[in-house]
């Protein structure tokens, strides 16, 4: 048996919208400190599942715990222990870099002194100290994404949810972003990520692939490639998700 702590534990999760079953008895877990890739075609049910895990919507049935808390009764506790970032919604365009950091940190209840110290660290590490007072809308997309990720883990959450975080950036920025994700796991943060870039599936410790509301495959990339006799994750995905 695996000894590592399960940050996300999902047993028989079902979510129905009327007669439509968006999540059909999902069972899986995510271990502490791993990068877990949550893949699937558009409409396979990824967003629905992610919303439940983030405490934004109730499942129809099933037993689900995130960071040790029950998704039915302890949603507010879950929200305090997670981070979230998507390409579409991340930072406030009409606030400065520094204001965004303070806003998010304040929402998560960090104290002013704590915020100031960590802000310095963060800006220095990203090399963004010189633009701390610039509006978000004035800085390049690649910087925004790195900053958005840093802000999402600023309160040191147990798990961070990344919903297609790398859309639209150049190939080098995309790779730098993944190096940041990897660094975060070294600090003990668990990463739950969706992406349409199949090479990024290779950077995950384990990957699940959803098809029509079910998880049809779940393993580490090397094992999946072997099982589906594919040379890369793109082929695995095409074999599973193509109808």
């Amino acid at each position: 048996m695996d000894e590592r702590e399960h940050i996300i534990e999902v047993k028989d999760m079902v979510k129905k919208f009327g007669s439509f079953t968006a999540n059909d008895h999902l069972t899986f877990h995510v271990e502490k400190g791993e990068i877990f890739g949550f893949l699937g075609a558009n409409g396979a049910g990824k967003t629905t599942a992610m919303r439940i895990l983030c405490g934004l919507s109730y499942p129809t049935s099933g037993e689900i715990h995130v960071a040790g808390h029950d998704v039915y009764r302890e949603r507010e506790r879950i929200k305090r222990k997670i981070g979230y970032m998507s390409q579409k919604f991340s930072l406030y365009e009409d606030l400065t870099v520094s204001e965004n950091i303070h806003l998010y940190a304040g929402i998560y209840g960090l104290r002013r002194k704590q915020i100031a110290a960590r802000e310095e660290q963060l800006l220095e590490r990203l090399g963004l100290s010189h633009i701390r007072n610039r509006l978000i809308r004035e800085i390049p997309l690649g910087w925004k994404q790195k900053l958005a990720f840093s802000v999402a883990i600023f309160h040191q959450p147990a798990v961070v949810f990344l919903d297609e975080p790398t859309g639209g950036v150049d190939p080098i920025t995309r790779r730098q972003f993944w190096e940041m994700i990897h660094d975060a796991t070294e600090e003990g943060i668990t990463v739950f990520v969706t992406t349409h870039y199949m090479d990024e599936a290779e950077y995950c410790d384990r990957v699940s692939i959803m098809v029509d509301g079910r998880i049809d495959a779940l393993d580490n990339p090397a094992a999946l490639k072997q099982q589906y006799e594919s040379k890369n994750m793109n082929e695995v995905f095409l074999k599973l998700a193509r109808t």
Binding site: G40, A41, D170, P171, I172, M198, N232, F237
Partner: protein, 305 residues
Amino acid sequence: MSLIIDHIDLSFGSLQALKQVNFEVKDGELFGLIGPDGAGKSSLFRIMASLLIPDNGRCLMHGHDVVKDYREVRKIIGYMPGRFSLYMDLSVEENLAFYARVFGTNVEENYELIRDVYEQIAPFKKRLAGKLSGGMKQKLALSCALIHRPEVLILDEPTTGVDAVSRREFWDMLKKIQNEGITIVVSTPYMDEAEMCDRVGLIQKGKLLEITDPSKPYENDQEQLFSLKSEKGIYAYLDRLRNMEGCKHAWLFGDQLHVTLHSEEDATRVKAALDGMGDSSLEWYKITPSVEDRFMGLISNSEAL
């Protein structure tokens, strides 16, 4: 030539969106424009579609100037903008009939051309376009852009945000359309789609960095590109390699690292250093650069990110 882009400049206030962009697309070619958000792809496409006037330079579509002869240009192009220009409160078949009539034709006349695409959404032809899934909207928008049998099809990021399966299907459709003799200019942020084009232009920050034929290997007598794989994981090697003398850059690349070394001598030295690490699962071999490798090399040369 289907399309001539002749030294185009474009600015929005102090922002230079396009800088001396210059290239040609041949008749019947499938030409890809690849680059990240903000590179200038959409601005260039809007110029081609006669919707935006460049500050300098010319754009000729089948010999027609897109500024002076815009009426002529609009008849011979099909344009699919990034945000599909469908009428959300019209049904699938109403959208198609509307586009056909705007171009003075009807759905029957060119149905053969769109049959493959349209039949996938035909079962939902009474449904409002606003109620379609992303993939179905994309197929309807493509049908609408094709219904007047354009000479040149201009597709602005048709696959952004679309899953790998639908992207593959979309490119299969494009190949068929190309076989009908239609010239296609398409933009994408996905590097793997470059391999599907006859030629690709790599664009970054308003500058066309290079035009290449993905089927032809790159010639470079100096730099050496290597792939590294290890069962112990590749992250551990990333910093080690970057700190080695002679290493130009090292990046994650799927389940491998791609490592660019300055010269053959460096390759010998790095190989020896890696051998000394005692990792029996280590695989290290020379490879030819893909379009993505090439693009990464060009942007890291051009300016700091």
